[in-house]
């Protein structure tokens, strides 16, 4: 009886010892991994930091303006080119493109195609 108990305790102690050993090594290796990941993250953060500075350097308004003028055929928006959303007419029912998908968006009394509001007409002319 005494022998069995001793055996049991010895077994338990050995198992705990081995378990601790394994766990410790696992933790150590994971800590190593974490440290590597950390230093890599920091490296990347530093690179991002430099890139952000460069991004901001490349995004200088003066440079963008110059690039825009040389490479794009766009010009600054004039006040006459802006329209309030309320001023945009609803698509006439049965116009080109068929029925509007959402009938609640269509104006029950649509203006005729040649009766667009003057502000809108101005935009069309420019296109």
């Amino acid at each position: 009886m005494i022998k069995a108990a001793t055996l049991f305790w010895m077994f338990l102690a050995t198992a705990a010892g081995i378990g601790l050993f394994v766990l410790k090594y696992e933790v150590k290796s994971m800590e190593g991994q974490l440290a590597t990941i950390h230093s890599k993250t920091l490296e990347n953060l530093e690179a991002v930091h430099v890139l952000k500075a460069e991004w901001s350097y490349l995004n200088q308004p003066a440079r963008l303006e110059d690039l825009g003028r040389r490479l794009l055929s766009l010009k600054p928006v004039k006040a006459s080119q802006t329209v309030d959303i309320e001023d945009i007419p609803f698509r006439p029912v049965g116009a080109r493109g068929g029925q509007a998908a959402n009938s609640s968006l269509t104006n029950p009394n649509p203006p005729a195609a040649d009766q667009v509001p003057p502000l809108f007409a101005k935009i069309r002319r420019k296109q």
Binding site: L42, K52, A53, S56, Y57, Q60, P61, A62, A79, T82
Partner: protein
């Protein structure tokens, strides 16, 4: 068979009396046992406590490992939309340990082949000293570092340092300021928030918008070139909370090269320079008189004759030589009318009014370069007269803009700021004039742009209003005749004011295109108009049809004109 007999006959044993020694031994054992079990109980308790509950004194391993975060020696500065304005980048600095160095002459020659602008003689002298540390060059580029490393000279080494970098160069130089080689803030917000920037790692968010800043800087630079001015200043301020969206002073400098900054480019004309603002002050005089109820929009003053005070004569630049109503005085920028208006209100009241709108105190903005206004020592009647049209009192453009903001935004003065306010934060301001007076001032300002001297500031669709100002520069103790300070303070849109836009050109000369004029209306007003046309779409200001009847009604002014005693009404 032998009967079962007990092996040992059961003797009736008498309990022997316990000897006293055993008694002591037992009680000792009991005490020791109790002590031990108490100790084990404590150990068990601790074991449970340590394994199951987290205590504060425990080292927090999870925190020491924590989140990887980049820590720079100085926090970033960003604009209101998060664009980077200033940051700290790691650089390598080269130093030498002459004690370890083998051949100084060879080392210097090799170094010079990589860093050609190195002073050989000086370096050689430095390296011949018996020292163990000498800076050779701070902040090398990565390429230079690589090349120096490739030389393989013993005794040379690098030290990681940080360098302040301003990616947008001179764009916001005066507000940002700059740092020295050891990253200490020397000017602008870098200096004002030096401690914060060092301690915190969270970026400092300015109220500046780089796009607006660029628009203002570019238009001012073009005006300076066109009119051969010596400098310029420009400000855009949000009238609803005092946030300064753009502030420019020309000429400016590149804060990336603090050692190359020319002394006169450091001067901030927008906050440090104080000037006699001229006619833009009539906004204050008129608002003051209207708010005090001393005169109505239909009232007026006789501006037929110049005013003589001691040795001065106050005349009108655009003299009409007749009775002028308040809108006319404003529109034609009549000095005589303004003087009479100010005297009607009173000398003491004028001073109190200017005090209220922040004109008599240095501007509270968050940089170190702030000019104190030049105020007359004794505020006499003659001072009140000249101050009514902007002479005899010098203030910085920033003060003027903050004051004008209060005149048009419904009458609330907001202290100007360079720091973006948190969304939803309560804006604290103080009422300085009534909402009704403010509305009248808006109509008057609109009138100047629609019909008066500020026509060139118009930006179609944005209902610009404003006032021109032209002052002769004071040099020493007298006015310099040909040297002008031409300015224009505008705001838009006048039906629901959002921004004040100010432009000032220092010593412009007229050109053929302006018929030789270099006044505010010819020189500074077009800058304001162009800037507004560029920035309004960016700032989300809705364009309106200026000819729409409801807008015209809102901006309408009845102008009373009096000829030969008869009053006539003309509506604009």
């Amino acid at each position: 068979m032998i009967g079962r007999q007990p092996l040992f006959p059961k003797k009736r044993r008498r309990e022997p009396p316990v000897p006293p020694r055993v008694e002591t031994g037992r009680s000792r054992l009991l005490i020791t046992g109790a002590l031990f079990s108490a100790a084990f109980l404590v150990v068990t308790g601790r074991l449970i406590g340590v394994t199951m509950f987290v205590e504060k004194s425990q080292p927090q391993y999870s925190r020491t490992v924590g989140k990887a975060a980049l820590k720079t020696g100085r926090a970033n500065i960003v604009d209101r939309n998060g664009n980077l304005l200033a940051t700290s980048l790691k650089t390598a600095s080269l130093y030498a340990n002459p004690r370890v160095m083998l051949d100084t002459r060879e080392a210097v020659n090799k170094l010079a082949s990589v860093l050609p602008d190195l002073n050989r003689r000086q370096i050689h002298k430095k390296l011949s000293q018996d020292l163990s540390f000498i800076w050779l060059r701070r902040h090398l580029t990565p390429r230079q570092k690589y090349e120096v490393n490739k030389l393989g000279i013993p005794g040379l080494d690098f030290r990681d340092e940080e360098r302040r970098v301003y990616p947008s160069a001179a764009l916001a130089s005066h507000i940002l300021g700059h740092t020295d080689i050891d990253n200490r803030g020397l000017a602008g917000v870098e200096r004002h928030f030096d401690d914060n920037l060092r301690k915190n790692n969270t970026p400092l968010k300015l109220s500046i918008d780089v796009r607006v800043q660029h628009a203002m800087r570019k238009e001012l630079a073009e005006a300076v070139q066109e009119f051969r001015g010596v400098g310029a200043a420009g400000i855009v301020m949000d009238v609803r909370n005092g946030e300064v969206v753009s502030i420019v002073s020309l000429p400016d400098f590149d804060p990336n090269l603090p050692s190359d900054i020319e002394p006169d480019t450091r001067f901030n004309r927008a906050t440090l320079g104080v000037y006699e603002m001229g006619s833009t002050f009539k906004i204050f005089t008129t608002a003051m008189a209207l708010d005090a109820g001393r005169v109505s929009m239909r009232g007026g003053y006789d501006a037929t004759h110049p005013i003589r005070v001691s040795r001065f004569v106050i005349r009108d630049y655009h003299a009409k030589r007749r009775w002028l109503s308040v809108p006319e005085i404003f529109m034609y920028s009549s000095n005589i009318g303004s003087v009479k208006m100010a005297l009607d209100v009173g000398v003491v009241e004028q001073r109190a009014f200017l005090q209220k709108i922040g004109v008599l105190h240095p501007s509270p903005v968050e940089i170190s370069e702030i000019g104190a206004p030049l105020i007359p020592g004794r505020w006499r009647e003659i001072n009140a007269m000249t101050i009514s049209f902007g002479h005899g009192l010098s203030i910085s453009p920033m003060q003027l803009v903050a004051g004008v903001g209060a005149m048009i935004n419904g009458g609330i003065y907001h202290a100007p700021t360079f720091i973006k306010k948190r969304v939803g934060s309560k804006t604290s301001g103080r009422r300085v004039i009534s909402a009704k007076t403010s509305e009248r001032v808006r109509r008057l300002l609109r009138l100047v742009v629609a019909k008066g001297t500020g026509r060139k500031a118009a930006a179609e669709g944005y209902l610009v209003g404003g006032k021109t100002g032209t002052a002769e520069k004071v040099v020493g103790r007298r006015y310099k005749k040909k040297a002008l300070m031409s300015s224009f303070v505008g705001a838009f849109p006048m039906d629901a004011p959002r921004y004040v836009v100010f432009a000032m050109i220092d010593e412009p000369s007229g050109t053929k295109k302006t018929f030789g004029y270099a006044t505010g209306g010819w020189v500074a007003a077009p800058v304001v108009g162009k800037v507004i046309a560029r920035i309004a779409p960016m700032l989300g200001v809705r364009a309106v049809d200026e000819k729409a009847p409801e807008i015209e009604r809102e901006m309408a002014i009845d102008i009373v004109t009096k000829k030969e005693g008869k009053r006539r009404l003309a509506s604009f």
